[in-house]
């Protein structure tokens, strides 16, 4: 379903490319031995290299290189055995060097691919242009003092991976799906924690529009540093409409950097335009080229986990799930692992999916819990499913047992069922009696069924279930009812 913006002069489509800055998971910084931990006291995770003291030289952190290569492999991208660090020069208070050490024309990772899982169950590919390693800047705090900005260099020099997509996305939803998938892959790989609130994943969006059917690329605007997936989607939606309005009124778009104001829901020009361009890149004379061989890459490749796309395919084929259900489960590795344990122990993938994705997830969402905090363990949920499968309890009773399990955390469903006498009645005698009573009390409805109103059988099943407190086996009930009504 194409995303079209109706303008006065015709229909427009939006062209989106995303640049994501993902903070590398490492103990120390990219070029110094200072810690990367979040929330430390101001300027306590700072080496002299990070503070750009004269004479200090950067030395690269092996783990950061490995993490970048691992991410590149996860994005099925070309790994460059030789890459070069460059200085990106700009002047800002939280950048003590006066330049950021980054990579320019020779990044560590080249072109790759990322598959989007759209909400309707379809998928499509988005190209990755490149991934390069660079330093993060420090943090400016503007709201403590009326006339001063305070600078904390704890973040300065922490390793970032800048992951640049091709301009392959055509709607805010696709941009959201891209971020979601990228975050999922990074978390599976263990190369970035993907926490957008704490700023360990930040996004810049490049947005332009063009008439539907055209293949030109018009002037784009870059929306900087948007810190949630929802805001990225909102910012793109606003920006694309702004472009259409400008073109409709005969105007032209200036290439510029803009900020998204999430309170007003609009983008606006960044004042310091000069600072956004003219970076005067040149190779950093303090660093030799970064080089490694095939064996190094192969060793990293051998340790890659099963990634979301492969897991999704396997869940579809191994457990008979739909593409949509499998996509939901694999988005978070912990969820996928939980499901798989339930599926394996209970021996029923479809029932496991239904209980995990529908029943358990809705409870977790409502209580704002993660799967690790689930009040019901995978083992107990598997046992509940086993009780349904061996006809000890009906699906309806299982829902009651599930509710009890939520409250009496840690209690085995088998114990709950036996203590409360919740076992399903499969004894035809007991059900026969209940049916006879109900048929006798509802002679009018019996007559209607006999006159051809078959749909009423469902009503009778409901009455029998009610009379037996849900303990009657519904299939058996239906069978007996049909037999008796046919007499």
């Amino acid at each position: 379903m194409a995303y079209i913006i109706k303008g006065e002069t015709g229909d427009w489509e939006v062209v989106i490319g995303l640049e994501v800055h993902a903070q590398v998971i490492s103990a120390a910084k990219l070029f110094s031995g200072a810690a990367t931990s979040f929330g430390s006291d101001p300027n306590s995770n700072v080496a002299f290299v990070d503070a750009a003291m004269p004479g200090m030289l950067p030395v690269i952190n092996a783990t950061c290189v490995e993490q970048a290569v691992r991410t590149g492999l996860g994005l099925k991208a070309k790994i460059n055995h030789r890459s070069v660090f460059a200085r990106k020069n700009y002047f800002y208070a939280d950048l003590p060097q006066g330049y950021q050490i980054s990579q320019f024309d020779q990044p560590i990772v080249g072109e790759g691919t990322l598959v989007l899982d759209m909400p309707d169950g379809t998928s499509r590919s988005v190209g990755i242009e490149r991934l390069h390693l660079e330093q993060d800047a420090g943090k400016s705090i503007h709201d403590i003092h009326p006339t001063k900005s305070f600078i904390d260099l704890n973040r300065a020099g922490v390793a970032l991976m800048e992951i640049v997509s091709k301009p392959d996305m055509r709607s805010p939803e696709e941009a959201g799906a891209y971020l979601k998938k990228l975050r999922s892959i990074l978390r599976y790989l263990g190369t970035c924690d993907g926490n957008m609130e704490e700023g360990s994943m930040r996004c810049d969006a490049n947005v332009s529009v063009r008439p539907v059917g055209s293949t030109e690329l018009r002037t784009r605007c870059e929306i900087k540093n948007v810190n949630s997936m929802r805001f990225v989607m909102q910012a793109i939606e606003f920006e694309a409409k702004r472009h259409v309005d400008v073109y409709d009124n005969g105007g032209k778009i200036d290439q510029e950097t803009r900020l998204y104001d999430s309170v007003k829901g609009e983008t606006r020009t960044m004042r310091s335009k000069e600072f956004a361009h003219d970076y005067r890149y040149f190779p950093d004379p303090d660093l030799l080229p970064l080089e490694f061989d095939d064996a190094y890459v192969a060793a990293i490749k051998s340790t890659l986990p099963e990634l979301p796309d492969d897991k999704k395919e396997r869940f579809i084929s191994q457990y008979g799930l739909s593409a949509y259900d499998a996509g939901v489960l694999v988005a978070e590795k912990e969820n996928a692992d939980f499901f798989e344990e339930v599926a394996k122990q209970s021996g029923d993938g479809k029932l496991a999916n239904s209980w995990v994705s529908n029943n358990l997830f809705s409870v977790l969402n409502a209580k704002n819990l993660t799967i690790d905090q689930s009040p019901i363990s995978a083992n107990h949920l598997s046992k509940l499913i086993a009780l349904i499968k061996n006809n000890t309890i009906s699906g309806r009773l299982a829902k009651d047992v599930f509710e009890i399990m939520l409250v009496e955390t840690g209690k085995d469903p088998e114990a709950i069922v036996s203590e409360r006498g919740m076992k399903q009645i499969t004894d035809t005698g007991a059900i026969d009696k209940a049916i006879d009573d109900i048929l006798a009390a509802n002679a009018d409805k019996v007559a209607q069924v006999k006159a051809g109103k078959e749909a009423l059988i469902g009503w009778f099943v409901g009455q029998v279930m009610k009379a037996t407190q849900g303990k009657a086996n519904p299939a058996l009930c239906q069978e007996l009812l049909k037999k008796k009504l046919a007499q």
């Binding site: 490492s26 103990a27 120390a28 110094s32 031995g33 200072a34 810690a35 006291d41 101001p42 300027n43 306590s44 995770n45 700072v46 080496a47 002299f48 290299v49 503070a51 030395v59 690269i60 952190n61 092996a62 783990t63 950061c64 290189v65 070069v84 020069n89 002047f91 800002y92 208070a93 400016s140 705090i141 503007h142 403590i144 003092h145 009326p146 006339t147 001063k148 900005s149 305070f150 600078i151 904390d152 260099l153 900020l259 960044m270 004042r271 310091s272 003219d278 005067r280 190779p283 950093d284 004379p285 660093l287 030799l288 080229p289 970064l290 080089e291």
Partner: protein, 95 residues
């Protein structure tokens, strides 16, 4: 190769060096001289030489991922012209 006055003014601004207007013309001359001197390198045939970023035949040194530095805010801040608690303090930068 020659630089013009506007370019020199822009470079000075980007480098945050305050060059008085009267000094710009002499600086254009000086910088152009330096550029021309570097231009001489073009006379050397480098067809068979891969671009390099350094002049030594060395490999980049790698470091283990271990926390070996930091925890010294007082030293980091000791030369700061202005500070507040453990923060560097600068004139307000508002975007």
């Amino acid at each position: 190769m020659s630089l013009d006055k506007a370019t020199v003014r822009r470079i000075a601004h980007l480098a945050r060096i305050d060059v008085p207007e009267a000094d710009l013309d002499p600086m254009v001359k000086e910088l152009t001289g330096i550029m021309n001197w570097i231009e001489q390198l073009k006379e050397v045939n480098t067809d068979a030489v891969a671009p390099m970023t350094g002049g030594t035949d060395m490999k980049l040194a790698w470091r283990k991922d271990a926390v070996t530095d930091g925890a010294q805010p007082e030293k980091v801040l000791s030369n700061a012209p202005d500070k507040h608690d453990s923060f560097f303090s600068v004139p307000k930068v508002v975007e």
